[in-house]
Assembly symmetry: C2
Homo-oligomer: 393 residues x 2
């Protein structure tokens, strides 16, 4: 063919992180067929959905087989019953949302990727290290990307800097992969900076349900003025274990204006044109996850994971190894001992303890020398991994 | 804020088609509270899902509540079980697809909208009239759009023209809103033209399951050479009544090359970055819809709708009114009598017969003077509407 393709795609680094990890594990197992390798690299939930969620999902599925209760195209922005449930959920954080500012979707990843559609040629500021979708989706659309660096000095919570200009800023709190969480003062500073420079913050709160510390914000809208400078993207994936069901949501306040342009109206138009709404049974399942019983049941799963996180944290405390996360996040991000680089430590851990994690450098250059382990395994496997780690760290 | 938005959005015409229709119906009903208004404008399916689909959907939903059968993130391009079912479905048309060329998604609308992400600054050729997503998604990304005009002369099946250059061509067959279907000779001519000019065809076959005539192609890949110049986008929405469940698929053959660029690889990268796969229970439901029993049950619903379409067609035959569709499509597209324009006919129909349809001009300037009615109503309502139409046409 002689048509033109989007050549920005050639500027995206091919990511082989997880396939490289799998290759290395496979090679190791071939050489050591009896090795009992424990995976602490899992970024996906492992516990089944709660019973109220399953009840709502199957009930709505059956409705689709009956002519009196069948439903066709869902509303593009989500059924009112789900938007109301989200609106009520935010009241827990003293945040009042309007129904029109809530957009249900098939997941946070879609919204994080698609949000670039409504934005122009801005300078884009992305944390390093961070979840790779922000970077890749902006490179695909040819944006000028700058990094806001996380490091031991700022506890992997980068703050505004006088050199940063008007632009689009991605923040992720609790952070993936570092598990670090911005506090109120820090988010206030970000909102102040965004309002002063006329910038937009895209706030990824996918892991908010892991926050237990009452002194940490779940939503950027807990900060005054944030509705005039921030979009928030959240998900049922980690809160309610929906990674396999697919449901997320994005908040685009009506207060977000660029001159005469309403960002809310642009997103409405984008979604109405390129998206046809979320599966009806999945929306009913999401509604159930936000009921009082649903929240309680989903929190039980989160507590299960957090027991792992706390046990892992204790080990690093005991060993005096620098780490972030593990308190209000399923992730623990630690400094590789003996100044090892991320991949050397990966090999060391696999060989000496038969434990697998994720090299920090896979999430950005600032992750070099760091390592991520997660708490989504079983209690038994995690305990066993801790015993092995204790011996070699 | 001082960031830049995507200003191409201001070039999209705000579509008030369906809200204008609803306003007019509401105003009419307020003046005539006893009027029994019949809606023949429905573009959505109305019959419930077939029982094998419901069984698969509820079974998979229950699996998500059990720790041994729970599934997390689905594969980004679809589970193999679904891709195999699609691959087998295409064998019915003597089309052999590779597993790697099949991409499951949450619906054809998403794929039709998102496909622009991987394309560069091409001339884009869009039928007029047609489903509005092609036009709007290209205007949003600032493309140069040209129209390929449908008319009575070409039976609303526009063909290649010496003035058309290398570019991206959207074809929709069976066409929405015209119901017209390209035959083998016509598609051969399009494929020949695309290969000669180095163009890409985006073939929307969302309504293929309505084709009963064995002399009409269901897939563009029934034409030799099409894998080197065409992407096909299809859906379970109309075939199996999935408008409320959300599942579609896109075929991007590995043979599609632009110089060194593989279109298949670009789409893989786009989907892996901005999409996290289709809900597991929905994929199981889609698999069931493509089983032998599933296809039979889904076809029963289609036959129900087609009885309406045939009854409506007969009326237009009887009255000698020019129309397309109604044979291998749920849509009937007809010339408004007495050279009325689309909206005048809408008012006339509402007032004189209490029947509602869709003004053709709402699908493009070439639709002026035409009107769309659909066969998604009940037999009873459709029969009653036909009696009323018989009196006034």
């Amino acid at each position: 063919m002689k048509i033109k393709v989007n050549e920005n795609f050639s500027n995206i680094a091919d990511s082989y992180l997880f396939s490289d990890i799998n290759k290395k594990i496979k090679a190791y197992k071939e050489k050591n067929p009896n090795a009992d390798v424990i995976r602490l690299g899992i970024g996906d939930v492992t516990l089944p959905l709660s019973s109220v969620v399953i009840d709502a999902l199957t009930k709505a599925s059956l409705e689709m087989g009956n002519k009196d209760t069948f439903r066709g195209y869902p509303p593009e922005y989500g059924y009112d019953f789900l938007k109301e449930a989200i609106l009520n959920y935010y009241k827990r954080f003293d945040v009042n949302l309007s129904m029109d500012s809530i957009f249900a979707s098939d997941g946070a990843k879609s919204d994080l990727g698609n949000i670039v559609d409504i934005l122009g040629d801005n300078d884009v500021y992305i944390p390093n290290p961070v979840y790779p979708v922000y970077l890749d989706s902006n490179i695909m659309s040819g944006r000028r990307v700058h990094f806001i660096n996380g490091s031991k000095e700022n506890n992997f919570l980068p703050m505004p800097n006088v050199n940063y200009k008007t632009g689009v800023y991605y923040l992720c709190s609790p952070n993936n992969p570092c598990g670090a969480v911005y506090n109120y003062e820090q988010l206030k500073e970000w909102v102040k900076f965004a309002k002063f420079t006329g910038s937009l913050i895209i706030f990824d709160s996918a892991y908010e349900a892991f926050i237990k510390d009452r002194n940490l914000p779940h939503s950027i809208y807990e900060i005054e003025g944030a509705k005039e400078c921030a979009i928030e993207i959240c998900s049922f994936s980690k809160q309610a274990g929906f990674t396999g069901l697919r449901c997320g949501y994005t908040i685009v306040p009506e207060e977000l204006m660029c001159g005469d342009y309403s960002i809310n109206k642009l997103w409405k138009r984008r979604q109405a044109t390129k998206f046809n709404g979320v599966s009806y049974p999945v929306q009913r399942a999401a509604e159930a996850a936000l009921s009082d019983t649903g929240i309680k049941e989903c929190q039980k799963n989160i507590e299960y994971y957090m027991e792992n996180a706390h046990a892992l944290s204790k080990l690093f405390d005991e060993k005096g190894i620098y780490y972030t996360g593990g308190k209000s996040s399923p992730y623990i991000w630690f400094k590789c001992p003996n100044n090892m680089d991320s991949w050397s430590f990966f090999e060391f851990l696999l060989k000496e303890a038969n434990v697998v994690g994720t090299p920090g450098v896979g999430f950005g250059t600032q992750g070099e020398g760091y390592f991520r382990i997660t708490s989504f395994g079983t209690h038994e496997k995690t305990k066993e991994a801790i015993e092995r780690l204790r011996k070699i760290l």
